[in-house]
Symmetry: C2
Subunit: 296 residues, 2 copies
């Protein structure tokens, strides 16, 4: 069977793991890595600045910051390359992106899978399944404890902040506390910066604590977790309890789900999909009969 | 929007709950119930012996014993009615049934969704998702404590057994004990029957205990549960922990998932599908955009 040729775009935490995931994935071949600037290359595969240098590519895993996805994904779709991204905004921005990529994907007869991480991503699929089993009720998603990439970036962007780590701490039933650890530049005023962070719309002043440290290195851990719980009803039954717990290394889980979605790209009709629109069986490296034999 | 007209075939524990689920489901209308013999009808919808008496029907929920599904489902597909069943055998029998129904569904341009309960069913989908997140590792499924319908039926079929309740008790990591409570006919010999049950291929003699009781009524509870756990690897990460816990009223969960699958029937191309082949979003009562807005 012909192997799927996959390239990784970006070489941060997720991009590096994506390279490992593709290497280990049956039926996939790493075409290479695309970066804005090519540094030293310790891979045995090419690292380039233009995807054209990699030869034919079936799927691009876009391991770039979420805010870049709306611009980067169309570039690949226009080149006839399917895309997978781990876009991590929910609701309206996600719908907007899906609609935008859907147009590019259909026009170029390619597939884009967006939000193919764990939340949004597999967690979204779990929430859908929980609603299918118990349509009445409320689902609560509790994240952490773990480092929030988005909130860390937001804190880091404040002038005077050298580096920041925003921890997401679950208070239970959908509420969270943020502990933001900051390393400051010499001239920076801690009290002022702490206030700026708490006033940033990304943070909730009531639930954000800012803590100054000399060195963030020992705090930076990529472990993360989630608990999704639903106490719902099905038919006449009023006490249906469903719960998912995950403790994961965050970039590895994200990259792995993106790699699985790359497989599904080859099996779907042109268009843009969120993970819940993809038959779960198409995420697996084996054919449908083998998957049913093993997992159903 | 036109409502989906659904009939329920069979009126046991699952059939009765299916009626309730359809009543409460947005966009669905209960066409009626089909039974082998019509008893007293307390529903405000018809109860008939032939589906033709119900007028147009889009989907039949087959709430009949698993062993009847291979024969009953084709009868409905041939009448141009989509089918959903909660067939509960795994592996080869499931593959055989899917293949059989696939032929009937394609020939009649209809959709059959098979194994649309919770295990096989939503549990199978969870196992697929867990493998997609962490392809390395082993998944353990632990059932119970709860009454196994299949094992209870097997015990009940032994001559001399008036009624039986087989409890599934999780010993952890995929192993189970069966406690089989039996109510015997007057002339029956308990020791002999206990041996017959333990020797039945459906039961494991090392892990089956048979207990005689005078009255099974207080033991019959339809609560059940499952824990699915995977400690796996994604990319370089070797400690990815994923766990699902459910505690449910069993017939209500099964019926509810079947009702959700009825919805998906209207959105799929002709053929037979297991639940893992169905985009999870199509199980929900709202359109895709609304589901993404709420759940992704």
């Amino acid at each position: 069977m012909k192997k799927i040729r996959v390239c990784v775009v970006g070489f941060g935490n997720v991009g590096r793991e994506a390279v490992e995931c593709i290497r280990r994935a049956p039926g996939m071949k790493l075409a290479g890595v695309v970066r804005r600037a090519v540094g030293e290359n310790h891979l045995d595969r090419p690292m380039v600045t233009r995807v054209e240098e990699l030869g034919p590519v079936d799927v691009a895993l876009l391991a770039v910051p979420s805010r870049l996805i709306p611009e980067v994904a169309p570039l690949y779709l226009q080149k006839g390359i399917n895309t997978v991204d781990g876009y991590d905004l929910h609701g309206e921005p996600m719908l907007y992106l899906r609609d935008r990529l859907n147009r590019y994907a259909k026009k170029n007869e390619r597939v884009a899978i967006t939000g193919a991480g764990w939340d949004p991503g597999t967690d979204s699929v779990i929430r859908m399944l929980f609603e299918a089993v118990a349509p009445g009720g409320i689902t609560y998603t509790d994240f952490g404890p773990g480092m929030s990439m988005g909130h860390s970036v937001a804190a880091r962007s404040i002038p005077g902040v050298k580096d920041a780590v925003a921890m997401t701490l679950p208070l239970g039933y959908g509420r969270h506390r943020r502990d933001v650890y900051v390393e400051l530049n010499k001239e920076a005023d801690f009290a002022e910066i702490a206030e700026q962070i708490r006033e940033d719309p990304y943070f909730d002043p009531d639930r954000t604590e800012v803590i100054q440290v000399d060195d963030l290195t020992p705090i930076k851990v990529t472990g993360h977790g989630v608990r999704i719980a639903r106490a719902g009803s099905s038919g006449t039954a009023q006490n249906q309890l469903l719960e998912l717990n995950m403790r994961i290394t965050n970039p590895a889980a994200t990259a792995q789900i993106m790699a699985a979605a790359a497989r599904a790209c080859m099996r779907l009709k042109p268009g843009c999909y969120v993970l819940g629109e993809v038959p779960p069986i198409d995420l697996l490296p084996v054919d449908r009969e083998a998957a049913i034999q093993k997992l159903v």
